[in-house]
Symmetry: C2
Subunit: 351 residues, 2 copies
Amino acid sequence: MADQFDGHGRTPLGAVPFIACMAIVALAAAMSAAKDEDPLPSWSDGARKDAIVAFVRDTTTAGSAMFVPPEQRIATFDQDGTLWVEHPIYTQILFCLDRVPAVVEARPELRMQEPFKTVLSGDHAAIARLGLEDLETIAGATLSGMTVEQFSVEVRQWLARSRHPRWDRPYTELVYQPMLELLQYLRANGFRTCIVTGGGQDFVRAYAHEVYGIPPEQVIGSAGATRFEIDADGRAVLVKEPKILLLNDGAGKPEDIHLMLGGRPIAAFGNSTGDQQMLQYAGTGGRSRLMMLVLHDDATREYAYGPANGLPDTRVGTFTQALADEARTRDWHVISMKNDWLQLFPFDAAP
Amino acid sequence: MADQFDGHGRTPLGAVPFIACMAIVALAAAMSAAKDEDPLPSWSDGARKDAIVAFVRDTTTAGSAMFVPPEQRIATFDQDGTLWVEHPIYTQILFCLDRVPAVVEARPELRMQEPFKTVLSGDHAAIARLGLEDLETIAGATLSGMTVEQFSVEVRQWLARSRHPRWDRPYTELVYQPMLELLQYLRANGFRTCIVTGGGQDFVRAYAHEVYGIPPEQVIGSAGATRFEIDADGRAVLVKEPKILLLNDGAGKPEDIHLMLGGRPIAAFGNSTGDQQMLQYAGTGGRSRLMMLVLHDDATREYAYGPANGLPDTRVGTFTQALADEARTRDWHVISMKNDWLQLFPFDAAP
């Protein structure tokens, strides 16, 4: 600070009024902007938008009975189906399937073994029929054996060259514009916005900062073990192991939030039964809470699924009738993608 | 946690002018202090202090070849023996031993079982002879069965009433003044200062903010599993389980740093073989690195131990000859408590 003053060569007597003046200008601008600028332009006017704005106002207004100090302003977000498209299948599974040829190249003994044989066959129907255990075998083989740094590079390279078949766009563009606005709005009000995903922690961390503005330490996900070793160049590295350490789904979500952050969220956002316990955990911690579930009811702009709405169940996030009932009982908001979101993706026309 | 806030009932109306006033006072103080104040007054002039100041200058000066952007400025600190006294035994073990009567009250079948019987006997010599396995059994029984919030309260209550026998002061006062200055100096320069301890994560998180200014999410420690449940009042809680999830020592330190932070530290501080891999991990990640080990060679003001210095080995952190040799080879600094630190504890006279 002193250096800046000395270095500029201005008479420090003049610099102080200048800074004070700038501060006043900035303050005035913020005050006028606060009045006219809508922080959530992609959200329809209505109960959901009102609830978000009221929650942020109440928790950040000194003197409010609902005031929450900044260090306790933790908001947690599921990723698949809450922040980005999860249909027809989780993006990370596609990454794993695409890595199978490279893994088989390195370990030829897997070529004739299932489920690798089916994946290599290119038979889409057969691949779509693979069960959970098969997918876990594939995940174990394709998400291990490299250093954590190499893995991060591979994820970013894959994301750069892969496209969602429906939109022919990178998966990282298929993020929901209203949720990007919500993340930004919360952060501007002193919240930490954390991703709490059933997906792989190392996978999501590879792009979360660029795509969501969320740094690695605020991404909590399923995690495999790593093995510390000194490589041939004398460098200490962590090699990804085919062994699950955290399965970050259902009750695992609040458990891992405690492990990683040591605090209870005051806001939580999800879209399926895998998020139920996270919303319960956020919701029963005290006053000043906001819980929301995204309902995929927009077959035109995205997809419509989830038995809660009489919509078909799928292999991705399940919004059951029981979850819909619990949402009603506990005053969790259900976001209708069709009605509450005016603009769906960043590349769509602004409302 | 939020209940605490709701319950405090301070007048937030009064808080704002107070905070504004404090900010102005702090700003004025910083402006006048920047030029003449030594950020490390408890450190002797010499190689260690010079290395710290040079490292901070190089990593934070835009345009420097060693510049590191703020989000990568991670510094990790072992706790026991690095930030506070670990002799004659780790503080957390005393906490566990003191909890045994309460545990036996709740589970009378343990009264006649070892090692609980020995602990209850009050025979100090016999207790001191308990092996690692016994201590693990005691830890499992005394660090589980309550919610994470209850546990945090119990830790704070115990720390408030317990005293170190040598100084007759709370353990939380037996922190090293030079390290408090270093933590503050690094944070003032955009670093995140993280504790990476073999001790219990929930234990250290209960006081780390108050004692070191380090928030819960920047405390990485050994961790037990928790079990999510809905309690009798309908509240979602996490109950501590007698099951180890992370053993944060040795290779576990870099592995857990990756798990919790997703980044590699550029500075690391320890005092024993349990910190070796953490320092290797920090040290081989690139340029602009600082690694330091505290050598306990001050029998007058604290303790002298560690075979590296021809000092006796103990049951706490071991500074072996091999570690001393590695420090020399890898250009890790060894801090002599006796020579490099002018003032040891915050309650000692300032130099």
